[in-house]
Symmetry: C2
Subunit: 205 residues, 2 copies
């Protein structure tokens, strides 16, 4: 009666399939309505499973969010601190590096701004969302640091990081400028910020 060993072989496929369906349904609903506004029952319905099945796979909302996050991270490809160096490989001039930074940020936010907005809305209610966003922010800051180099003041880096935030990108994006012009504007702002942050500095031409 006790402990006959039981391996899930073919059953494991079906199991993973339902798990996948749940995660995708959750991601879709979170995208449409936000995280906190989505119920287990809605998820179950859209995934075509019973509520109990959702619970079995993800006993807490946090686990569900984590699974979604892993899923979404793949599509977003957020900047990773450990990759920051290679992004600017071979670029020596400050101007070039800032343009590269602007292009990198723009491409990332184009992929991920919508999701970042979703996550930000409930980050104070769902700790996992907060952790997720912190990682993203760390990646962005690493990009900024790498772009301006090691000799820069902390004040400059923090100011530029603030301007590199997704909220600023979103505000600028509403202007609907053509991509090339948009990135030029962003690089210009970052350049300007680097001048502003150092007191007693004039704006470099």
């Amino acid at each position: 009666m006790a402990g006959r060993k039981y391996q899930l072989r073919k059953r494991a496929e079906g199991l993973d399939a339902t798990r996948e369906r749940i995660v995708e349904a959750t991601a879709a609903l979170h995208y449409e309505q936000g995280v906190a506004a989505t119920s287990y029952i809605q998820i179950a319905e859209r995934a075509g499973v019973g509520p109990a099945t959702v619970y079995r796979h993800f006993p807490t909302l946090g686990l569900l969010v984590l699974a979604c996050g892993a899923h979404i991270n793949e599509a977003m490809q957020p900047p990773l601190p450990e990759n920051a160096k290679t992004v600017f490989a071979g670029l020596g001039m400050r101007q070039q590096r800032l343009e590269r930074l602007a292009a990198e940020l723009d491409a990332f936010y184009e992929r991920g701004a919508a999701w970042l907005g979703i996550a930000a809305r409930d980050r104070d209610r769902v700790p996992e969302l907060d952790g997720f966003l912190r990682q993203v922010e760390a990646g962005v800051e690493a990009l900024v640091r790498e772009a301006v180099g090691a000799g820069s003041s902390e004040a400059m880096i923090r100011l530029m990081t603030a301007l590199a935030d997704v909220s600023v990108w979103q505000s600028l994006k509403r202007l609907e400028a053509p991509p090339a012009e948009f990135r030029r504007t962003m690089a210009g702002l970052l350049d300007c910020a680097s001048g502003l942050a150092a007191p007693g500095h004039a704006n470099p031409a």
Copy 2:
């Protein structure tokens, strides 16, 4: 049996008092938890009235939000398009006007950024919040227009308005710079933006 006229004289005071209590309780709860996350029952409990009373005074969430908005508008004192001219009265130089603009925006957001964040979170769910924010945005844009004067390009105005958005202010505010430095930075960014937006354009002195 029909229609004897009945004036609420002394009763009107008590009536307004409960209405006021409801509005204040709502504002507090919206501030703490957000608009969409607050229930009628919570409001009734905090106001010390029955749920039915909340319904009688405000049959829909929209009416409740409008009443709150009027309340909050007084504390926020958002910039009004019709007052934009007087804000810059007597200031001729562009530099001075931009500093005034930065100071005005900073003071306003200091009063109202928290509420603007609350409203923005649910603006797509509650039409009244969207209308409220549109009005605020119109006031900010009017300030920007007045600051740079009539001869400026539309592109410049739109870029500066984007930078004048509350989301940018919030991102910069996290740096916790001293007030004077903060406003200098903001004015510098706006100045920079005016240069970026007009390729081959000189700004009017």
